[in-house]
Amino acid sequence: MNATTSPVNQYFKALQLDETDSSLSQEILENCGVDIERCLECGKCSGGCSNTHIFDFTPRKIVQMIKIGDEKRLLHMDSLWCCVACHLCVDRCPSGIDIPRIMDYLREKAITKGIPATRPTVELFHNLMLDQVHKKGRVSELYLILNYNLKSRQYLKNAELGPQMFFKGKLNPIPARVKKMDQVRRLFRPKPGQKGEAR
């Protein structure tokens, strides 16, 4: 099989430099305090990565894409939504490049731009959890799971665990509430163009 007839592997697809913008590494430096130019290109981040076998772009590749400013693909990539934030990449990086922080930054930017998550259930779960924090300041696992199943239309997901959890007293039906909720709510900053507190 030669290179022209083999199936296209996204990993090796040529990057279109004319579509890129080199200001992204500066943006990462200013917002995350991470100097991407320190990358030694050793690849230890991807070697250690817990989920590299399901990532569309590995940490090493992500760093390179930041360098050439390939923002569009970075904000649309599936890796944003299946990174387990295990921190192996940053821990093993000889230059201490904080890839989990970069992943969080890019995800936040994608959300702000209204780019849909490649794994909608993951984004839904984040939002439902933060809704609870916004309402009560704490998370009730029982109501979070029930609400998640309802909203993701997976009504019987994890239902087999329910009875055992109930009989072992692991489900607390009375949700706790923080008293000084005004303080907690002020942390939820408004979205651009929105009034009051929101995400």
Binding site: C86, H87, R101, F125, H126, E141, K168, L187
Partner: protein
């Protein structure tokens, strides 16, 4: 020793046995745990995934209450909460921009004084293994355990500043102090799948399944954990992982309690999904 205690949401519902055993063991070691009054959720993992300022702010509020309570040490038993508290503390100390932002939102001076430690670190480094050994009345003789650290207890090293992130030993040493044997295995610091248990279960079945198989291969009779999320992922999903074996997943505080002479019922050992009782009974420990 007075220590601010951050239990976190799981310890008030799904992982109550971890809370109960933590309090018993600390009381036994003269550690006065003072629960942070009116604490809020640390936000893991949703907050840091979608809103950095919110993530730092949520933990900053908890730290500021601890500071108000005049406590300069904060302990958490969930590796996720520990990591968020410690990362926030690091940000507040090193990032003036976010410090100012959080101060403005919370209307408090940013808490930079309290030191955050996971309970395991507190026990191993401050109380010390010798002091713990002195209290052991029922050594865990004959138990072959896999000490599981997971991700956030030791990583990233710049933040966690505890143990060795590649080859951690603190929990192994503690379990040996209690009289148990620990196995050498490859997955002690690998990820269990973290916060994806509900939202992308396949990730947990994959990563958690590898951890379980590795422990089994090394000959462990149970896995010992120091995080409610690791416990849930490894304990409750074994059927879905379609494994041909079952392994009990026990909190380290429960085992300390057993060695200190408490009954399994007092430590909530009956609340674990895959019961360790047959194993403990076979060694004369319950």
């Amino acid at each position: 020793m007075n220590v601010a205690y951050f239990p976190g949401c799981s310890l008030h519902s799904m992982s109550r046995e971890y809370d109960v055993s933590t309090r018993l063991v600390c009381q036994h070691l003269d550690i006065n745990l003072r629960e942070i009054e009116d604490w809020n959720c640390c936000g893991a993992t949703a907050a840091h995934s979608v809103n950095h300022t919110l993530a730092v702010g949520l933990s900053a509020r908890n730290l500021s209450i601890a500071e108000e309570m005049n406590l300069d040490k904060v302990t958490a038993v969930c590796a996720g909460c520990f990591s968020r508290l410690k990362a926030a503390s690091h940000e507040l100390r090193n990032n003036p921009h976010i410090k100012a932002e959080v101060e403005q939102m919370l209307k408090v001076t940013a808490p930079v004084k309290p030191e955050v430690e996971h309970l395991l670190q507190l026990l191993v480094e401050e109380i010390g293994l010798e002091a713990i050994r002195e209290k052991v009345v029922k050594p865990l003789k004959g138990l072959r355990l896999a000490a599981y650290y997971g991700c956030l207890l030791t990583r990233p090293r710049q933040i966690a500043q505890f143990d060795d992130p590649e080859q951690p030993v603190s929990l192994d040493n503690l379990l040996k102090t209690l009289g148990a044997e620990t196995v050498t295995w490859g997955h002690k610091a690998e990820c269990c799948g973290g916060g994806y248990a509900a939202s992308d279960t396949d990730i947990v079945l994959d990563l958690g399944g590898q951890v379980l198989k590795s422990a089994r291969q090394a000959g462990a009779e149970a896995i010992v954990v120091a995080c409610p999320m690791c416990q849930g992922n490894l304990d409750m999903r074994q059927k879905a992982m379609e494994l041909d074996f079952r392994l009990p997943i026990i909190y380290f505080t429960q085992l300390i309690g057993l060695a200190f002479g408490y009954k399994s019922g007092q430590l909530g050992i009956n609340k674990l999904f895959n019961s360790p009782m047959p194993l403990l009974k076979s060694k004369g420990l319950a």
